[in-house]
Every structure is written in structure tokens, then in C-alpha cells.
């Protein structure tokens, strides 16, 4: 991820997972590793896992290894994940075959269809016994999962939570967004005046959240603090955001208040920035209203990874934390002409800058808005 961010590499390319007449026009961002080999290397070759489950397991293995946590310490941990597509990559194929009257002996797609399949897999693999839930709020899912997991720790109910998101590509998501005419043939160009839409992607990311005392007691390297979480609903339209960004502003403001910060404290914003006409226009309005004269560095990273839907909030949380740790902010790939009338500081190039506090936005269907604040040190 760091390499892609530093080099400005986009993962957007041609769809290969299935055949589609839309593939020649609309690109996707597929996971470019050898998923089957990687999952088999961890002893899961014969397990019934969806593509989304496999991405979740691999991301969690990475996170746990990176945390240096004793696996036994995970037994009391809880796990909150955000998802949107879940196992539909397999179950939609099962349905299509059933509809065509093909005989089917393997019904495993029925059990891996649900979001719980990923959490069940993680529970089995790591022996988790704490609170467990999957949040399905479309593209804000994993931001909500992280925010709610952080609340579990803040309220003293848990000392360790795994929090993240996973989603694979699927025909339902790809055909669906294409049907809404919000997918760009040229790949996403967030916050560009001439943007023509999003790109559906896939991926997973996991954060190991610990209470500060737990992390310090075991001598862990603390990358960042989840210092604020805000959430709101537009209650305006099933897919379109509120034109004035009312809900988005409330979510961001609530996250800042929770963190004990003001807009002026934010150094970097990882915007939702899907590159659709509606989202980027209203998010620009919301960011301008929230920050006023303050101009934090802003980028959307959707052109690197595509829009990974339920996983996007978690992947972008990792990007914020990486920016904070290294002081290198990713460029807003694809930006040529900023949106007319917007004076936001959208990063055309990557930028070296100290980041004390970063804000990450995730907005989903139904006007579901989530905002997270990450801080290098806790201010309250």
C-alpha cells in the first residue's frame, strides 16, 4: 500500500473475475495478489470461505502480526467488521445456476453469503470470544465498525477489538453501480470538475484497537489514537446525498467534538471522494462549511484502490494513520481541474507534512455518514 501511495500507482484495470459485456467500458480495481495461494498458505485451502472472507482473513493476519500481540491475548477480543457485498460473489453465481436449472451439489455459497461468514472465520481462526457484529451501512460500514469498536473500548467494556472491513467485487455491485450510471470509463478523478464517476474495487483492512493502558502495558507501538467518531443520517434520499451536505457536516462536527478538537486542528482529510458528480459536489460544500478559513490538506484515495464499498472506511483509516506516521500525504490521483468555485486544498501531488490529527469521511447509501478522527496523541 505504501509503495502504491508513494508512487501514485492506480490499481484500476480491466475486470477479469467474470465475463461481462460492461467490462470493455468500465474498469474495476481487483485485488492483484494470489488470493488462493495466500489463503492456502495459512492452512485454509479446504475451508468454505467466500472471496470476501479470504480478504478479511489475510488482512487480519497482517494486522495481528504487525501488532505483536500474543495470540492468547486475542481470546477475549471482540470483532466489528463493516461490509456491503459480503459473499455475494459466490451466492449470485449459485442463484444464476439455480435459475438456469443446473444441478448443484455444493451449497456452501448459501452459508458464506452472509456477512457473518467473515466474522465466523475470524472467530474460528483466532479464537475470539468478545462482542461480535457486522455493520451493513453500505459505503460507511467499516468506518462505523471502527467507531463503534472504539466506543466499546472507551466505555471500558473491552480492552481489545479487531475492527475493519472487507468486500470483494461482485456482479451485483458492479452491475448495480453501472446501472446507476455512476461508474467512469476512465477511472475515478475525485474532486475534478470533469469527473465522470467511480470505480468499484475490493479489499480489506483491519485495525487492532486497544485501550491505551493495555497497549502501554504490553509495550506496543501505538501508531495512532481513534480520537473521534461521528455519525448521522441525511434522511433525504436513498442514494443521493443531501445537496448542502447537512448530514456530512454533522457527522464531521460530532467526530471533532468527540475528539475535543475544532476544524482548525485537522491537518489532513481523507475524503470520501468517490468521483461521482453528487458526492464530490456535496462533500466539497460540507468540507468548506466545516473548515471555513482553515485549509487542511485533502485527498481522496479512490483512484488507487477503487471504491471498496464496505471496506473503504477501514482502508482509508489505514491511509490516514500511515500519513500520520510517515508525514507523507497521498496525492489525489486523477485531479486536473478542481471543481469550479471550490477553494479546498486538494493535493495534486503527495505532500510531506506533519499530521497531528487526520479526519476520514465515509458516506453510504441512505445518506449514512460516518467520520473518524485519528490523532497522533490524545488531546483530551
Amino acid at each position: 500500500m505504501q509503495r502504491a501511495l508513494d508512487k501514485g500507482q492506480s490499481g484500476v484495470g480491466r475486470l477479469t473475475l467474470w465475463k461481462s459485456p460492461l467490462a470493455k467500458t468500465y474498469p474495476v480495481a481487483e485485488y492483484n495478489g494470489d488470493l488462493e495461494a495466500e489463503i492456502a498458505a495459512d492452512g485454509w485451502a479446504n475451508e468454505r470461505l467466500s472471496r470476501s472472507d479470504k480478504l478479511a482473513v489475510l488482512a487480519t493476519l497482517d494486522a495481528i502480526a504487525d501488532s505483536g500481540l500474543d495470540p492468547n491475548a486475542l481470546r477475549s477480543a471482540g470483532c466489528y467488521f463493516g461490509q456491503s457485498v459480503c459473499g455475494t460473489f459466490g451466492s449470485e453465481t449459485y442463484y444464476v445456476a439455480s435459475r438456469a436449472g443446473k444441478p448443484l451439489n455444493d451449497h456452501s455459497a448459501l452459508s458464506t453469503h452472509q456477512s457473518a461468514s467473515s466474522l465466523d472465520a475470524l472467530g474460528r481462526r483466532f479464537g475470539l470470544s468478545g462482542p461480535i457484529s457486522s455493520f451493513m451501512t453500505a459505503c460507511s460500514s467499516s468506518a462505523n465498525a471502527i467507531g463503534l469498536a472504539a466506543l466499546e473500548i472507551e466505555t471500558g467494556h473491552q480492552s481489545i477489538m479487531l475492527a475493519g472491513g472487507t468486500d470483494s467485487l461482485s456482479q451485483i455491485a458492479y452491475n448495480g453501480f453501472c446501472s446507476l450510471q455512476v461508474v467512469s470509463p476512465d477511472g475515478p478523478r475525485p474532486f475534478d470538475e470533469n469527473r465522470s464517476g467511480m470505480c468499484v474495487g475490493e479489499g480489506a483492512a483491519v485495525l487492532i484497537l486497544e485501550s491505551e493502558s493495555h497497549a502501554r502495558q504490553r509495550g506496543a507501538t501505538i501508531y495512532a489514537f481513534v480520537s473521534g467518531y461521528g455519525h448521522s443520517c441525511d434522511a433525504h434520499h436513498l442514494t443521493a446525498p443531501h445537496p448542502e451536505g447537512h448530514g456530512a457536516i454533522r457527522a464531521m462536527q460530532e467526530a471533532l467534538t468527540h475528539a475535543g478538537l475544532t476544524g482548525g486542528d485537522i491537518d489532513y482529510v481523507n475524503a470520501h471522494g468517490t468521483a461521482t458528480r453528487d458526492n464530490d459536489a456535496t462533500e466539497s460544500i460540507a468540507l468548506s462549511k466545516l473548515f471555513g478559513d482553515h485549509r487542511p490538506s485533502i485527498s481522496s484515495t479512490k483512484r488507487y484502490f477503487g471504491h471498496t464499498l464496505g471496506a473503504a472506511g477501514a482502508i482509508e483509516a489505514v491511509i490516514c494513520i500511515d500519513a500520520m506516521m510517515r508525514g507523507v500525504l497521498p496525492a489525489n490521483l486523477g485531479l486536473e481541474t478542481p471543481i469550479a468555485g471550490s477553494d479546498l486544498d486538494i493535493l495534486r501531488e503527495s505532500q510531506t507534512r506533519e499530521v497531528r490529527h487526520a479526519l476520514s469521511n465515509s458516506f453510504g447509501f441512505g445518506g449514512n455518514n460516518a467520520a473518524l478522527v485519528f490523532s497522533r496523541e490524545m488531546s483530551v
Binding site: 456477512s115 457484529s133 453500505a138 456482479q171 450510471q181 448521522s232 434522511a235 449514512n368
Partner: protein, 366 residues
């Protein structure tokens, strides 16, 4: 943190609303009947099921809104409205930013998802239906309820197989605890569509016998279950509310493996019992653990409203109604009364998924 439950709305095979549900429970009526389900090959099958009645949606929603809702969303929207009515809450009397909606669902908008796939299989991928797609997302119930009520507060959808409702309940309590809302409408709904019936039947799980028209037999070792669908919503508020609580919810949580909330202070333990002999070792063992840990009856009212991914929300409704009315409703098996018990003052509501996840909460009289 304890929270007050001040309103209930429910649409199930027992009836439309609290009054109809109470009447059925008090009179030991079940909601099972023989229904027809369409198969993908165009044939139909008859099988016993507890399908929720068609709610009187026009009482709460205008035709313009109803046109945009399928059966599942209508059930959810109506039961959410019923819950507010039951609590005596006028939507214009509360701050929309402080009204949250938290919904549990395992399968979500399965029927609309099927229609969306059919739209591209029939017309080609280039002509898939955008309307079906935007209504197929899992969060559609919570979104539509919020749209209907103008609720701009927290809006979540949880999904974890059989404990989807209990996960919603745990999140709602957490959000109230952290001061994120003044009122949360928490509920759950899933729909027994023909497709769900066909696919689950392939696993050899569902009864197709007309002899089972009397419904579930929770205490018998059966080869199959009798499925059902329902929607139930509840108004949760801090205990400082001026409204009279129906019951108090002391805690709600989820977890995996052995339950971590063992305590002897309950008069009654309710769980999901379906009588399915193949109902997985974890679930059977889980109930054995409950039985050994609590000096209280372990009961289930699944014989009244059937078994579905989120019908535990109906069991929760039954529990709250028992506490509110200081009464006890008999448990049914094949339509016959099989278990009676004294009116409980404290109830442990328990549910478990065969995948080793559990959800639980503690309820007591207000």
C-alpha cells in the same frame, strides 16, 4: 447501562400490532398455516410456515411512500411506527437529530436483490434496474424507516445470522450509553421469500409436511423446522425518560463460544428452540449450559411465531409484554400448550447461532 423500553411494534404471523399479538399469546393461538411457495422452475410447493400477516400500512404511511416499499420494508416501517405510537411519541415532538434507528437483519432485502439479478439476466447487464439495485442494500430498512420518520440521528444495520437482532440491541444500548441519541428505534426483520424457502429446503432443514400445520415442536427431536418471518421494533430510551417504561433492559451483548454473562438472578430464560435435532452441537450445548447455570425455566415461544433468522425479536417482544403485564404466556408445541410458568420479574433473553455466536440481554420489570 440500563435503558427503558417504552414502546413495541410487531408484525408477525400472530397479527398486526401489539394488541393482536397479546390476544394470540394469551389465548395460546399460533400463526402457522400451509402456504404456497414458488420455485425457480415455475412450480409451487405447499409447506407449513408462519408468514407475517399483511400489516395495515395505510394507517401509518401514505400511498406515495408505500409505492417505494416492498413487503419487508413495509413490515419494518409499520412496526417502527407502531412502536412510536405504543410509546406515545409524536415524531414532531422530538429532535430528529437525536432519534436513531438500529436494525438487525440477516438476509436483508433478499426479494429485491433477486429481482435485481433477474433484471440483468432478462434484459442484459447493460439494462439492469437501478431502482432495484438501490433498494437491494442491507441497510434499506433502516434507511426507509429514517426517511419515513425524518430521523437524522444514528442509523445502523447489523447482520450476524441468528443474532442479528441481539447485535442491533447491543449497539443501540452502547449508543444510548455514550449519549449519541435520546431515543433509538431498535428492531429486526427478515422475510421468508420463496427463494429463501427453496434454498434452505435444499439443506434438508425445512418441513414440507402438512402434518406440521400446527407449527413448531420446540421440545421434540425433529428432522426439520417450521420457518417464519416477522418484524419487531422497540423504543429504547434512557431510564430518566418521563414515559412509563414497559420493562428495563439492564444490558445487551454478543459474543462467541461459552456465554460470559452467567448469573443466577433470573426467573425465566428464553431462548430460540426449534426442535430441530440437527440444530448443531453448539446450539444444543448452549441450551444445556443455560439449563445447568440457571435455576429457572428455559423456554421458547417459537411454537407461536416460528423460526427465522430474526424471529428472536418476536421473543424479545413476548418477554417485554410478559414483564409489562406481569403475566406469563404459555409455550406451544404443534399448536398445543406444553409449558406454563409463573409471571417472571427478571428474564434472561438468550439466542445463539449455530456458528458459535451468541447474543443475550437481561430484562426486568420496570
Amino acid at each position: 447501562m440500563s435503558v427503558a423500553i417504552t414502546g413495541i411494534g410487531c408484525v408477525s404471523a400472530l397479527g398486526d400490532g401489539v394488541a393482536a399479538t397479546l390476544d394470540a399469546l394469551r389465548n395460546a393461538r399460533h400463526g402457522c398455516a400451509i402456504h404456497e411457495f414458488e420455485r425457480l422452475d415455475g412450480t409451487t410447493v405447499s409447506a407449513p410456515a408462519y408468514l407475517a400477516v399483511k400489516p395495515d400500512a395505510t394507517k401509518y404511511l401514505d400511498k406515495r411512500k408505500l409505492r417505494r416499499m416492498d413487503r419487508l420494508v413495509k413490515m419494518a416501517a409499520v412496526s417502527a411506527r407502531q412502536a412510536l405510537d405504543h410509546a406515545g411519541i409524536e415524531t414532531d415532538s422530538i429532535s430528529p437529530e437525536r432519534l436513531g434507528v438500529v436494525t438487525g437483519t440477516a438476509l436483508g432485502a433478499l426479494n429485491i436483490t433477486q429481482q435485481f439479478i433477474d433484471s440483468w439476466l432478462t434484459n442484459g447487464e447493460e439494462h439492469a434496474s437501478p431502482l432495484k439495485f438501490m433498494n437491494s442494500v442491507h441497510g434499506i430498512m433502516a434507511s426507509q424507516v429514517a426517511l419515513d420518520l425524518g430521523a437524522t440521528g444514528v442509523n445502523l444495520t447489523t447482520s450476524h445470522r441468528e443474532i442479528s437482532f441481539e447485535a442491533a440491541l447491543a449497539s443501540a444500548v452502547s449508543l444510548l450509553e455514550s449519549g449519541r441519541a435520546d431515543i433509538i428505534l431498535v428492531g429486526a426483520a427478515d422475510e421468508l421469500t420463496s427463494l429463501a424457502h427453496e434454498f434452505v429446503s435444499r439443506l434438508g432443514v425445512l418441513s414440507h409436511s402438512e402434518d406440521d400445520a400446527g407449527g413448531c415442536q420446540p421440545w421434540e427431536a425433529r428432522a426439520t423446522i417450521v420457518p417464519g418471518d416477522a418484524s419487531a421494533f422497540f423504543v429504547l430510551e434512557p431510564t430518566s425518560t418521563q414515559r412509563k417504561p414497559l420493562a428495563i433492559l439492564d444490558w445487551a451483548q454478543t459474543g462467541r463460544g461459552e456465554p460470559t454473562h452467567v448469573s443466577a438472578d433470573y426467573d425465566l430464560v428464553t431462548t430460540i428452540r426449534e426442535g430441530w435435532v440437527r440444530s448443531h452441537d453448539f446450539r444444543n450445548n448452549h441450551e444445556a449450559v443455560l439449563q445447568s447455570q440457571y435455576n429457572a425455566p428455559v423456554v421458547s415461544h417459537n411454537g407461536s411465531f416460528g423460526v427465522g433468522f430474526t424471529t428472536s425479536a418476536m421473543q424479545f417482544a413476548v418477554n417485554v409484554l410478559m414483564l409489562a403485564g406481569r403475566e406469563a404466556f404459555p409455550c406451544l408445541s404443534a399448536g398445543e400448550m406444553v409449558r406454563t410458568f409463573d409471571a417472571p420479574a427478571r428474564i434472561l433473553h438468550e439466542n445463539a447461532s449455530p456458528s458459535c455466536a451468541w447474543g443475550a440481554c437481561a430484562l426486568r420489570q420496570a
